[in-house]
Symmetry: D2
Subunit: 487 residues, 4 copies
């Protein structure tokens, strides 16, 4: 069977060449390093879930390439049902890990995007990218690897295109094309879950024109490829990860974001899926963000579920009935179901692509992105509201102080309420984690900004059709045009 066990996954990770740094230190083994092992544990749970009869329908599926059971994270999304299962899987993944498992999720969108994009390129331009991708995908499925996805370029001055930047490397680009492959230089930044990944799928940015064609490049590489240096970003409370105790409250999940520096990395030909076809760079991005913006609604719904549970736990630990909080708990679930439901709707109203892939509805996916950039902030606010002061920032002594031989008994005596001091402390730390810490995915800009989504909503809105509905109802015969632009 193609599915690997958590142990097999971790063993494979351990064997990669160390090329990740944090706090000035080279991470020798991501499965044990305190700053990466939690995210590895989180991703391990995805492997366990695929093998768990309770969750296997979500976390695994049948490969359209081989007919074998494979991880859904490595499968082509071929129907509305598939895409809905993806939304549900992301919600469940949050339940299981308490955070983002971005090392697999962005990769899923990247490979699905390139499935469609390479198919179109080959058809229109006679290239052979689709076959290359199939080959790689068969290998990826066979080995059940974790593949992170990398889109975001440093970009430099946002008001200039890649080819006009003072430093040409501000967007990742091809510096040499050889018989057997290409050489790329540049960086991808804020890349989620790379610590837990075995390979990295790189996509270009959008909006490229002819002069930017060297920037139109997509490929996949092993994470430990020569020339790739990775620096982990810092989180508010990541110093706790090297400590003992409940201050880092979740051991089986953790978010990481990394900066990836490509210093003349050689990518073999059969791992290159777009190279110079600048008109398709935008398609690659669009085909990435549509399913992403739909399914992220499931992810933040899962986060909201856990927040509702944690808030209810704290209310009870405080000696209060959750009934007193019904109005607010309901609002949390309204928020959760809205982002989840809009993702489901975007899935259901998608359409089939000739390549066999299922394309998500762009209007609904983009509307969901707006909700995803708004509603979770409200849910966090309500979580802190219900939890009381102890759930707000910085209202609990450290684990060390909790256990101090001189005064730890005082901390514990006064933290006790309807539950033990330890339970209240753990709940408070989980709430901090969920609202200010390691459980907070970067929902605002993950998969692009809400502002970008709004532009696409405007493009997809069919305003002119709406105008015609109103004209017809009002029986207006005169033409009422958009005024001419001023000279």
């Amino acid at each position: 069977m193609a599915l690997k066990t958590p142990e097999q996954y971790k063993q494979a990770l351990s064997q990669l060449r160390p090329n990740m740094y944090k706090f000035g230190e080279l991470i020798q083994d991501v499965t044990t390093n305190p700053h990466t092992r939690r995210t590895v544990e989180g991703h391990s749970q995805l492997y366990a879930a695929a093998l768990n009869p309770n969750y296997s329908d979500l976390f695994s599926t049948t490969s359209n390439l081989t007919g074998e059971t494979v991880s859904r994270y490595l499968a082509i999304n071929t129907s509305a049902e598939d895409m809905i299962a993806n939304c549900k899987m992301k919600r469940k993944a949050y339940h299981l890990t308490g955070t983002c498992t971005g090392g697999r999720c962005a990769g899923y969108n990247a490979l699905n995007s390139m499935w469609v994009t390479t198919y179109d390129m080959d058809n229109n331009m006679g290239t052979d990218y689709h076959g290359r991708l199939k080959d790689w995908l068969r290998y990826a499925q066979d080995n059940d690897i974790t593949v992170s996805g990398a889109l975001t370029d440093p970009k430099g001055n946002r008001s200039l295109p890649p080819s006009e930047q003072e430093d040409p490397d501000m967007n990742l680009h091809v510096v040499d094309v050889r018989e057997d492959g290409i050489v790329v230089r540049g960086a991808k930044v804020m890349i989620c879950g790379t610590a837990a990944a075995q390979e990295v799928f790189v996509l270009p940015g959008a909006g490229y024109k002819e002069p930017d064609k060297d920037y139109a490049v997509a490929f996949v590489v092993p994470k430990d490829i020569a020339g790739l240096t990775i620096v982990e970003a810092r989180h508010p409370s990541d110093a706790r990860e090297a400590e003992e105790g409940f201050d880092a409250p979740v051991g089986i999940g953790g978010i990481t974001q990394a900066y990836l520096f490509f210093e003349d990395v050689f990518v073999p030909r059969d791992r290159v899926f777009l190279c110079g076809e600048f008109k398709y760079a935008g398609n690659a991005v669009m085909n990435f963000i549509m399913p992403y913006r739909a399914a992220i609604g499931g992810c933040v719904a899962g986060q909201g579920d856990v927040m509702a549970g944690a808030a209810a736990l704290m209310a009870r630990a405080n000696g209060l009935s959750t009934k007193a909080f019904n109005e607010r708990l309901i609002q949390m679930y309204v928020n959760n179901e809205t982002t989840f439901g809009m993702g489901v709707a975007a899935s259901a109203l998608g359409k089939a692509h000739p390549s066999g892939a299922w394309l998500t509805n762009p209007m609904l996916a983009n509307v969901n992105k707006v909700h995803v950039g708004t509603l979770p902030y409200d849910t966090k606010r309500i979580t802190q509201d219900i939890a009381g002061g102890i759930g707000e920032t910085g209202c609990l002594p450290s684990y060390v102080d909790f256990n101090d031989p001189r005064y730890g008994h005082l901390v514990q005596k006064y933290l006790k309420a309807a539950s033990s001091a330890e339970s209240r402390a753990k709940i408070a730390r989980v709430i901090e984690w969920l609202t200010l810490g390691g459980g907070v995915p970067g929902c605002m800009h993950g998969g692009g900004s809400p502002e970008g989504a709004k532009l696409m909503i405007r493009l997809n809105s069919g305003l002119e059709e709406s105008v015609e509905f109103a004209r017809r109802l009002a029986e207006i015969e005169e033409d009422v045009p958009e005024p001419a632009a001023k000279k």
Copy 2:
């Protein structure tokens, strides 16, 4: 073919016994009376749409009884696709009529509800209701009739159940059971679209107990049945309907709500679908409101589309580019797509019932009800915001004044902007209609109140499961129970 033409529909309506009143007058013919003809025109468009190749996939479908093409408004919803088509149909119906076509839509939900409910009753209690419903439905489909749905009882004192009301008629009830049928007394109030209906499908209320069993009754009757008196409710601007000109700006649509008084009405046995089975009254209501609360999201999305179109028209008529209003127009579409999308999601995540019907997802349907009771108010606000003062209440002289021989030229001179005075006046009137007048459906309480929906969200929220997610992540081993209720 089962589908009727608009003309056939109107002819059938004309032949009903007059039993509707408004402003103290008996309405002789609803197809010509100024207070009812607009809503009849609106419903006529639904007949036209079913025959129009552009819309027939939405407005008609294949009968699961006969295999014939029938109106979707008379069809059993047998799949997620059917239910999604229902959401789309409601959105399109608003585009076509500029308002509610409640004479068919509530009936659709009523007959679908009783399809499921009678099936369950027959299976569990050995009754023969399902067969009776099938017979009636075959007749209804064959004649392509318009069937309104009637749920809301006057209720009297809301803090008392039906059987304890001072006046036993405050909820509609059975007063006699005979061999050949039953006799009912009471009223149904605020019933939408009755003016355009040929029959009325009556459902009971929910929450009934043994002493209330005479109140557990469902049936369908011709609108002109003996003993039924109907009084139309009044709208803010309905006096305009008897006038000439654009003050009643939409000729092809109009909302009506009626009070139906049943004074010992005899209902033949084969038109009775529930009678005394008080435990199923609640099911009948639930099975009604789930698809209703999903699909109403399509309806208010359609309303929002027309508002966006009207607002854009006014901006242009004022000489302004819609670009200046992009942020607000986008917000309108976010609102529209949210209620529409949540309905689609509730459809997609429904499940099959043994009777062959498709049951809508209750959580998502109820969340949508909350949005439907909130977002359209925001959309109306934005419409008035974009339109400027002329789109607010009462800022335009009457049609009579617009055309007055003494000063009408002044009104017209000063109303002219980038479009003609007449176009601006018509747009302003359509905006008034959409935000304050006849185009405003009763979304807040139609299909039940948002507050009721919130209770159901709480019931469906799975809070205890969320609590377990949080407990597991925080590694809390102690039980943290809900506190015991105070004595």
Copy 3:
């Protein structure tokens, strides 16, 4: 004493030359005509309030011109306390009349604006406007007249300034300057409360430049001056005003908006307060809108108070305790107090002008305008939510049907709940009036649009100062300038 009685006020109104039209008819006497008498009654209550010891501290004050007790509506606002009293007066005026009393309120802002503006003009340009205004104001106070304020021009094509309009009359302008006065032509539209006014205070628009200088004109005229024709705008339910019974539920208040057509009206010299000084037209508008945007918060708060009261009444009439609605009632008061409080704050943080007037804080006044264009819509929504279906649009038969000898008893039987049918019907009609009808002031655009307010918020925001706070805290030494505009 300067204060007049309601009777004296109405008698004075009756003696004006008839020059107002509605529905094609000349209104002979505004105090008895069904379309104007309600608003006259509303304004009468302001006279009664000034003489009522409970309210006289709000509705009257001491003239800064004569030391006599005068109506606050005719007084110069000379302190924070005065301006706060103005906010409170507007809230109370709504309580007393159930609607807008715009016939005095806009006039108050107009005369206060010109007090400041003429003072500045005289000082800077050597004109003698301030003395003219003082003389007129002394006369107005002595006679305790009702003065409406008129700003809004028809404007024509919004993308063109007055002097470039195809029709030069699209903004009111001076067509002749004579020794003894000026002749003006044009219109003012959507002018509130003119029906109840004795004089009309006309202000120019803003943003005028040299070529527009004929449009920079301010003056005050008797409402019945030769050449002025007034056409009343139509409201959604104004046809009810000519009927009997509770369908027009409030007899002591009513909103009116009118179109005023000036066909070469001669204005005597001593009633002209700005004429050609185009640079001061903007000041006149700013000095008008600042106190207006502050105090309108009191007005909509009063509206919200009445909505909360009406919603609570309906809950009780339905047999329900208001306790069940606490969360929503609290939200209503949060909304009410926010618009009221922001007006108070804008008053408190104002500053003294050399003329003796008190200038409202522009930042807070404009922020309040944004709230005034948003929060009342939410309050209306909650009102309908609490009231249940009967409080929504069009869910109650007419007064005629309520009393019909054939079926009126049925309407009444079934409307009864915990209160009588008549009380429920009256409450429902008041709620309709407040949320869809005559009690809805044009808050969105009254005193200018929220969009205009937002521009002023941006101007007043002190963003660069905020940037410096952030720079200092982050210890950034480099300059981080706004990027140069693209060529």
Copy 4:
């Protein structure tokens, strides 16, 4: 002069007996310990501001006891102007420190509360508390000390009153009353700014009855009094405080919250201001929270100003014009001015107390508490939205990695945009600090919860008066009472 310099203040702090712990270590000197020196710097700036001519009108005032110039933080608030100055001071204090300076602000409210409460007690019960307070206050002003305020008890099981808790110490209480003073035991938790304080002013909880009278106690003690042990709470990123560089981006401000354990602390008689008068415990709390809930609006407005500035800085550093973000920047300022303005309004509409103090308006203060628990969350969301991905959680490598000799040049190369890498990094860190870190005050529950504020809004809402307004307008004569409670 009573005002001390920052140096004098820090020197005085250094001389206190060490009794604070963090991370298991006794803090020897709060002015140099990495976990406390930033908050001490923040409070030092308040001393500097009082001596700075630009700010002295806000930060100092004239003592009503001595006529001398004293810190406003130690002055009795005697007028609306005083209270408005307090609101402005809090806004400015945030600008200066980038965070909460709770070590002085809660003390200000505590001493102002007890000024009023002791006055009333003495008058009604013949006690001599007011004189004791005056004496202490004179001493406090003479020495310009920083006094933190401590209200929150651990509370134990929230469903039980203090006297019924299993552990009687769950609320701080008197365990012995002696001739010369009292002995107290218990704890105060989540107390803000204690690290920077010289004394601690302790207030009781509210809602106490006769059996709880030992819990009704108010007093002030030196922070280093015998028997008092203090444990600092942990913040998300406080491990950074012991590091070099910009990861702890603000050197001149920092928030701390502490747990204070009173193990049989002796309080001399002249420092006790309430002891057993359980009916006044609630007054003490109310008199504390009213000015607190008003003025905290200024604090969060200051936070919002800095967020707007930081967001604008990042936009420019990214090479983008702030014009593209106008809509969102305006929304930030609407939020800021709303909490600030509502505090000003609560100040302006307060009233004089016989003791000479000025009482804040309770309705407006509580409405503001609701806004303070809501709007800043929206402002934070917008900050992250404008800033782009780099402003979200965990998207920037550490300072150590930024400067790493092996790959730091890569981090810097790719962080550069329209500004230097260092500036962008610093701005990103300040945004993290403001939205997820040390600059986030506990606004939700500081000064009590929004839920408690809502209860008070309901009590102050005047609903019955609103009901009467609606009744009068609708001409309803029947009584429509609240339904009797069910038996």
